[in-house]
């Protein structure tokens, strides 16, 4: 029981076939489910450290699985989804999924996302958050880049903090807007574009080719 458990939910046996050896090699214990019902059962019974979830399941919708797990647990969930279903990914993320990987995917990518999700789950609020040469002192409201302080407005700081708190993971537009501006402004993605633009001007080495705050087209932003 010392090994962390990963629950893999997919109705395609072929996916299990290559994920199991990889996850095992990474040092996880693998539990497999083919249906939503089994997934819920195992999520409750096996206490997984993270869940890899395919959205297309034979018995019910993968999004419903997220919803029902989120009621009882904050376990990191990485969603497997088709490339052409932006709306579905956004829905899944808004329902509480931590990240997504588009099918078809390389296992390296999935593993990275999975690790980021689990790392975040361990991280706690407060202290100093660091990514590359940028650091955020949450308590002091101070942002430094390469050791020099960078002046940010209150909103810019809030946006940056929201991204730092979810570092490595995609944060949807809706999530950011709700967190920074409140739920009344969920549709106003133009605010975000303006503030993210300003943050890049102040924090990126080359604002035209961002390396810190990445855009996930149609979905949101990711801080790496």
């Amino acid at each position: 029981m010392s090994l962390p458990t990963i629950l893999v939910v997919d109705d395609e046996i072929a996916i299990h076939r290559f994920l199991r050896p990889v996850l095992t090699a990474e040092g996880y214990r693998v539990v497999q489910a083919m249906t939503g019902t089994d997934a819920l059962k195992l999520a409750a019974g096996e206490d997984p450290a993270a869940i890899v979830l395919d959205l297309g399941l034979p018995d019910f919708d993968g999004k419903e699985v997220i919803q029902r797990i989120r009621k009882v647990s904050q376990v990191p969930i990485v969603v497997l989804s088709a490339r052409d279903r932006e709306a579905e990914k956004v829905r899944a993320l808004d329902l509480g999924a931590d990240d997504y990987v588009e099918k078809p995917f390389g296992v390296g990518e999935l593993m990275a996302r999975l690790r980021a999700a689990m790392r975040h789950a361990k991280a706690t609020g407060g202290g100093v958050l660091v990514s590359g040469d940028v650091s955020v002192d949450v308590a002091a409201h101070v942002v430094r880049k390469g050791g020099r302080e960078v002046r940010l407005t209150r909103r810019e700081f809030d946006v940056l903090l929201a991204l730092f708190r979810n570092a490595g993971r995609v944060v949807t537009h809706t999530h950011l807007l709700r967190e920074v501006w409140g739920s009344a402004n969920e549709g106003n993605t133009q605010y975000l574009r303006v503030y993210v633009g300003q943050l890049r001007q102040k924090l990126e080495d080359d604002p035209a080719a961002p390396r810190l705050i990445l855009t996930e087209p149609g979905i949101g932003y990711r801080l790496v």
């Binding site: 046996i13 072929a14 076939r17 290559f18 050896p21 083919m34 399941l57 993968g62």
Partner: protein, 891 residues
């Protein structure tokens, strides 16, 4: 009249101006007589125009060998003439087609009133010119005043020469400019004497007196007047168009009453002259009496007169009513007519005591506030030919005789009980009955027979035809008169009854026609029905043409025939393009064997309707024409509706096709993505984690790559097969194969791909051989099993069995899953039919599997069916495939 009240733009004037826009402009060089130099003047002006940079083309100019005129033409571009074969020789004519194709800016066309040779597009050159104007080409032309339609009579009266070639006044009025080419009479006569004038018209040449000074002066005056009145009307039109206050036309409105007689044409010409003098709007009306049908020549006369009136600018109207004066006066009041023109009725039944006298008399007596002009005849009108009633069928005569015989028999019996004089009443009965039931002539025969029989049997001396007393002779004569009169009156009543029955039938026919057409679903059915109905109603071959790309194609014909000769096609085309009737009996391409009328609905032209000219060349009577118009209208309406619904359906089909394509793309991309995800995942796992995995895990990943690649291959094959099936290009390589082996292979491959279901293969001892294409059959049966794996649930049982049946091989594939929903059963073998068992990812397949199964099995001559659920099989999907035994099947 309200338009007198305020100075506002008259709509008519504005319309006339508007209809000119986009058209070519017509300049007319008008002369009083041949030889005044019209052509010369036109050419002179044309050279000036050319010098000014205009694109001038000489369409046709007759130089008559005059050197000065020829010199004028020399440096202008000349259109080659068309050669039209006519009675064994080639006649050269103005080439309208070539002119339209060449499209000059300005076209010169000599002799506006010229009649084209038979076989040309139009009978008259002015119609050719109208086509050119419509095409936006400016045209200059020449004409002598004697050719003006409304002056035809006057010219004849002046010169004694009847001019055959005339131009309607309306086309003259549309001329944008009229240039008067004038030459003093003396000068003209001098030129004539010098031989400088070429007189074309043979009739004119024959008349030595034509070029008398008095004649020429009168003609000059006519020409000058024509131009002067034209200036007047131009001025008036401008004033009305610009709402300039000024001397207004007195608002006279003229009504000309036309009857089916020789005077009609003259009445029209007089009416036109009066209307011109008064500057009046004028009407030409005719009245049809219900139940009275005109005979051919009379109807034709009336037609000619009405058409003439129309071409002279009258508004024509056919009224219906039995009381002529009342109808005319009602119409006159309605249209605010100020003057009525009637001809003096020639016959007038004045000798009959109940006659109301002539129409003219009645009009004069009853008109209030309207002037009535009565035109008298030039010469004594010919007496109307007495037309005899029809003879009727021969069987009618024995019937009439039988009627008399019956009366005689009855009389000889009655005479025993009653006095003699009453017996004659029986004979009146014997005459009356055939008169009412059969016709006039049998009744007359009955009269004579009655007379003879009465005389023979009842008048002393009985048994002989001798008449003893003179007063009995008188009695017999009176008897004969009464009998004939009764039969005539009764016969007339019967004719009217028949006529009204005919109208009722026509009305019913129209109603039935409308109903039939409105019930038809598509345009082709409407066209077929319309053609056959029109043929039945009018007794002539009917054809309907529809635009098909750039051309008109026969869409329906009755009797069915798909050919039309070239003149007919040309007429149809013209009718379609110009929206007017063309072909036989019209002014456009009358030599064609067909008559065409456009089919218009709303502002769309949907086709043309054609009627063949019958062998005897008889025109349609008024009733038939009205019926034709109604039928054409109904056909157009029904066709328009059908086309609209076809369009709606096509749009719906297109939307459906689009939907199917989207489904296909979505599901194919999904179907391909899953095996690709597996291959990519396995490959990256091997690359990134290869050294950390044991041998078995590595082998399994590689096997996964292989299996999924096979799966992809399978899907590509399915898609290809579907394409081939649809294109009818599926190739079947038959061989003897063991169906049991195929089933086992399918199960194994399903298990390898991760099927968790329980499989049971039930086979007899001996191999079950089928003469089939192994690869295709593998695919067909594999698709059914694939379906079961996808839809029956992970723990279902799938049973496969194969049996030899007397006429082939039967395979059944059966599962205990949820089965096929009832709603999906009928289309389960159709393309893109999918059952959504899973949620967000949509279906698991393109919905091609079973469609391919069906295609392959049927290509083998077999059948596939989805067996119904019954108490023995309450759930699950069961498919039965039957393959016929091939030739030389093992027993």
């Amino acid at each position: 009249m309200t338009k007198d009240d305020a100075p506002r733009a008259s709509p008519d004037a504005l319309l006339a101006e508007a209809s000119r826009e986009g058209r070519g402009r017509l300049r007319l060089f008008l002369g009083a007589a041949p030889g005044v130099g019209k052509t010369y003047a036109m050419l002179q002006a044309a050279r000036a125009a050319k010098a000014a940079g205009r694109d001038v083309l000489v369409g046709i100019v007759e130089t008559h060998g005059r050197a000065d005129t020829e010199a004028m033409v020399a440096d202008l571009e000349i259109l080659p003439r068309a050669r039209i074969p006519y009675r064994g020789r080639l006649v050269s004519e103005f080439d309208l087609e070539a002119a339209l194709a060449r499209r000059p800016s300005l076209l010169l066309v000599d002799e506006y009133a010229h009649s084209n040779v038979e076989g040309s597009r139009h009978p008259k050159r002015w119609q050719d010119v109208a086509d050119c104007l419509r095409a936006g080409i400016d045209v200059w032309t020449t004409m002598n005043v004697q050719h003006v339609e409304s002056l035809n009579d006057v010219v004849q009266r002046i010169t004694g020469v009847r001019v055959r070639e005339t131009v309607p006044d309306t086309t003259l009025r549309t001329a944008d400019e009229i240039v008067l080419v004038d030459l003093p009479s003396d000068e003209l006569i001098r030129r004539l004497a010098e031989g400088k004038v070429y007189v074309e018209d043979t009739a004119t040449r024959a008349t030595q007196n034509f070029f008398k000074p008095s004649n020429l002066t009168a003609l000059r005056e006519l020409a000058l007047r024509q131009v002067a009145s034209r200036v007047d009307s131009d001025l008036l039109e401008r004033m009305q168009g610009g709402a300039i206050e000024g001397p207004w036309a007195a608002g006279e409105r003229l009504l000309v009453c036309l009857g089916p007689d020789d005077a009609a044409e003259r009445l029209v010409r007089e009416g036109k002259r009066l209307a011109d003098l008064l500057g009046a709007h004028w009407f030409a009306v005719t009245i049809e009496r219900p139940g009275v049908t005109l005979d051919g020549p009379a109807a034709a006369k009336l037609d000619v007169a009405m058409q003439l009136a129309k071409s002279l600018g009258a508004e024509t109207q056919s009224l219906v009513g039995s009381d002529l004066p009342t109808e005319i006066l009602r119409f006159a009041r309605f249209e605010n007519v100020t003057q009525i023109v009637v001809g003096r009725a020639r016959v007038g039944r004045a000798w009959l005591p109940w006659s109301k006298g002539s129409l003219a008399d009645a009009m004069v007596r009853r008109a209030r506030g309207v002037s009535v002009l009565v035109l008298t005849e030039d010469r004594e009108a010919a007496w109307r030919r007495w037309t005899l009633p029809e003879m009727g069928s021969w069987t009618a005569y024995p019937a009439a005789a039988a009627s008399v015989a019956a009366a005689t028999l009855l009389g000889t019996q009655l005479v025993r009980f009653v006095p003699l004089p009453n017996v004659s009443m029986l004979y009146l009965l014997a005459v009356l009955v055939p008169a009412i039931l059969i016709g006039v002539w049998p009744a007359v025969l009955a009269s004579f027979l009655s007379f003879g029989a009465y005389n023979f049997f009842f008048i002393d001396p009985a048994g002989t035809f001798t008449i003893a007393r003179p007063h009995e002779l008188l009695a017999l004569a009176v008897f004969l008169i009464i009998a004939v009169t009764i039969s005539a009156v009764a016969g007339q009543a019967r004719e009217q009854m028949r006529a009204s029955a005919r109208r009722t039938r026509a009305a019913r026919r129209l109603y039935e026609f409308t109903r039939t057409l409105s019930a038809l679903p598509d345009a082709n059915a409407v066209l077929e029905a319309a053609a056959s109905e029109i043929n039945a109603a009018l007794g002539r071959a009917a054809v309907i043409l529809r635009p098909e790309g750039a051309d008109l194609e026969i869409a329906a014909a009755w009797p069915p025939d798909d050919r039309l000769d070239v003149p007919a096609r040309t007429a149809a085309r013209w009718s379609f393009e110009h929206g007017e009737a063309a072909g036989a009996g019209t002014q456009t391409l009358p030599s064609s064997g067909w008559f065409f009328t456009p089919l218009d609905v709303a502002d769309q032209r949907v086709g043309v309707l054609g009627l063949e000219r019958p062998g005897d060349n008889a025109p349609l009577d008024a009733e038939a024409r009205a019926l034709l118009a109604a039928l054409a209208e109904q056909t157009a309406a029904a066709l328009g509706r059908a086309l609209l619904s076809t369009e709606v359906r096509a749009a719906r089909t297109a939307a459906e096709t689009e939907r199917v394509r989207n489904i296909l793309l979505a599901s194919i991309s999904h179907d391909f993505r899953t095996p690709l995800a597996s291959i990519l995942g396995s490959a990256t796992a091997l690359i990134d984690y290869g050294e950390r995995l044991d041998d078995e895990a590595r082998r399994d990943l590689l096997a996964g790559v292989r299996d999924e690649a096979r799966h992809l291959d399978q899907m590509v094959r399915n898609l290809l097969s579907m394409t081939r099936l649809e294109a009818g290009a599926l190739e079947i390589n038959r061989d003897w194969i063991d169906v049991g082996e195929i089933l086992n292979r399918i199960v194994e491959s399903a298990r390898r791909r991760g099927a968790t279901q329980g499989f049971a293969v039930d086979l007899p001892e001996e191999p079950i051989l089928a003469h089939a294409d192994g690869t295709l059959l593998d695919q067909a049966l594999g698709n059914i099993v694939g379906n079961a794996v996808r839809h029956a649930g992970p723990n279902a049982r799938v049973m496969l069995s194969a049996r030899r049946s007397p006429d082939g091989v039967t395979v059944e594939i059966d599962d205990d899953g949820p089965g096929v929903p009832d709603g999906l059963r009928p289309q389960v073998f159709e393309k893109f039919t999918r059952h959504r068992t899973s949620g967000a990812d949509g279906g698991d397949s393109a919905g091609l599997g079973l469609a391919i199964t069906k295609g392959i099995v049927e290509a083998h001559g077999g059948t596939v069916e989805l067996l119904p659920n019954d108490p023995a099989r309450p759930r699950g999907a069961a498919f039965r495939v039957h393959l016929p035994a091939g030739e030389g099947a093992p027993a």
